[in-house]
Homo-oligomer: 336 residues x 2
DNA sequence: TCGGGTGATGTAACTAGTTACAGACCAAGT
DNA sequence: ACTTGGTCTGTAACTAGTTACATCACCCGA
């Protein structure tokens, strides 16, 4: 068999040769077609079509110094809140002509640093982080490369990177106040793993000094519907005088809701259940879920916008705290 | 004020100058450090640290001809099934040292083609598509650039790109057969927008010739919990002799479940409810949801693997159909 | 002392684009 | 007739890396 002719991709020079023009002219046809005479342009375009030529992204990037890629480091895509945020980020970045590379970290700081390095190797021009707990390796990487980085899902005006987040502390407070206003005093607090998650820690911090004789008992469980459901037995055993359950995330609240129904406990007559986040289905469940709305989509859009402006115009964004909103639905009611 | 010295990024030549070696040596320190003498290497490393040097991804890519980036075109991240699949894709691609750029299409073929172009401009080496409905523009783009492309969420061995999917037709059939086996004859089928979604069309196609006196009535609604809930009034009005509700997605099944509970209809005593997908919460809800499991994570992993091998070793994958599994839970029961 | 092998390093060409500058050409103005 | 200006195109340098090949020092054995 004859040795296969290496069928590598056509480049600018190939097109120039076929069209019988210089590389500069081909480049002009691609970038500023109006300055090229029509018949020349048509000849070049014919050559481009003939060869199936597509300019190399890398070669363009090397000249412009721009890749137009933004990297996002998020704990996981399995959780609605990150998926929602990311969806908003992606579509807003697209408005600025920027693409989004996603890397998941499983809430593991070392993995995050490793993936951040990969993102920078890919050439991202900006980085979106979640929360404020990161490894020194990541910090020094960001410092060395001077890549613009912003933090989402958390607000702290003094943090080393601009934070575009919501008020986790205030949201938890809002939820507890609501239960308190309804007369509830014996409250079970169900929350995800605090050790690895600064958003959860911040929410818990809001609950440390309950007023008016409110007593809080804490239950840490997996961050999922199953986690919320699994912990209910423990809650019901430990707290016979239970007024309300405050779940620091909606997914766990759904788990709690289901598990309570399964045990014949009526919500909200026997016990009120409160979530935190306002998932799309919170308005639909039966009973519908009282919760505090975290503006995930809005945050995603704003984060994307802010980073885009930083990358494009070197305009570093100010930290922003988006407001949370108490959403009262059927799952909470006044204590009888 | 003195004109600011342009503080541009340090490059290989800068490092070479500071370390008093040639560019080749610096390159060797970066890529094959063992061939460089220790003291030279240390000098270079010191220079790298001093300048905060980071090699340019674009320049590397231009030489290797590789970007190590894969692009995924998915309808939306708001839907769990895509978020789950994407999470699996991302983590599996990472095993191969590949990064993932995400672009959402909102199930719009023109938008998909536009975003595909952007992905190729970014330099993706491979493309992951969802379903088999795409614009001609996308097809010709893929043909011109000869970029490896695979399809997920759909199986069709004869399709122009390899499909790594599950059997939508078989899954729907499995669900209907289950209801039939339980003695149900009057069945409401709730499904998402068929016009724009080939997965849904394929599921519907499985239901065209029901046997044994089974009567199906169709209700198209939004692909969401709210959509599933909103259509229930219509279902209950139109079908007074209702045995079962078959929802062609779990999210809609949850909506149906909630709406039925809200109206005092007992599931499964009064009516059986069947989902399709097996979301993580399907096992937790009350009643827990009978459904057909679509192996979203497995599919994501396999798709990532297959595309990675195609990109790395030029080994085009074979179409693969992953099995769906009937999951019988509490929401379906024998007709009384 | 010479040839050969090895190891470390440098030179320069190469990747695929963009672009500053130069030059050719043609028409209009002086 | 000669300059001027504008349009179009080409040459070559430039971006930031990698790498084939050349070079040189050094050591060993003949």
């Amino acid at each position: 068999m004859a040795p296969h002719k290496e069928k590598k991709r056509a480049n600018l020079r190939d097109v120039a040769r076929i069209a019988n023009v210089s590389v500069a002219t081909v480049s002009r046809v691609l970038n500023t077609p109006k300055v090229v005479q029509q018949d020349t342009r048509e000849r070049v375009e014919a050559a481009i079509t003939e060869l199936g030529f597509h300019p190399s992204a890398a070669a363009r990037a090397i000249n412009s110094g721009r890749t137009r890629i933004i990297g996002a480091l998020i704990p996981t895509l399995e959780s609605d809140i990150f998926a929602l945020t990311l969806d908003a980020i992606e579509s807003r970045l697209d408005d600025f002509g920027l693409s989004l590379v996603v890397a998941t970290t499983d809430e593991d700081a070392d993995k995050e640093a490793r993936k951040a390095k990969e993102l920078l190797d890919v050439g991202v021009e900006g980085l979106i982080l979640s929360g404020i707990s990161h490894s020194d390796a990541l910090h020094s990487l960001i410092e060395r490369t001077r890549v613009p980085a912003i933090v989402t899902s958390y607000y702290d005006a003094t943090f080393r990177y601009p934070t575009i987040g919501y008020d986790n502390h205030g949201a938890a407070r809002l939820a507890l106040d609501h239960l308190q206003d309804l007369g509830h005093r014996q409250v079970a607090v169900i929350h995800g793993p605090a050790a690895i998650n600064d958003r959860i820690r911040e929410r818990l911090r809001a609950l440390i000094d309950p007023q008016d004789g409110v007593s809080l008992k804490y239950y840490e469980t997996e961050f999922s519907v199953a986690g919320g459901a699994a912990v209910i037995d423990r809650v019901l055993t430990k707290q016979t005088q239970l007024d309300a359950i405050l779940c620091l995330s909606d997914v766990q609240a759904f788990g709690a809701l289901f598990a309570l129904q399964r045990r014949g406990v009526n919500v909200p007559q026997d016990v009120s259940v409160m979530g935190l986040q306002d998932l799309p289905s919170a308005a639909q469940s039966y009973p519908s879920l009282s919760t505090v709305r975290l503006p995930a989509r809005r945050m995603g859009r704003l984060a994307a916008e802010s980073l885009a402006k930083w990358v494009e115009d070197d305009h570093k964004p100010d930290p922003t705290c988006l407001p949370c909103e108490l959403i009262v639905r059927e799952s909470t009611t006044r204590k009888h």
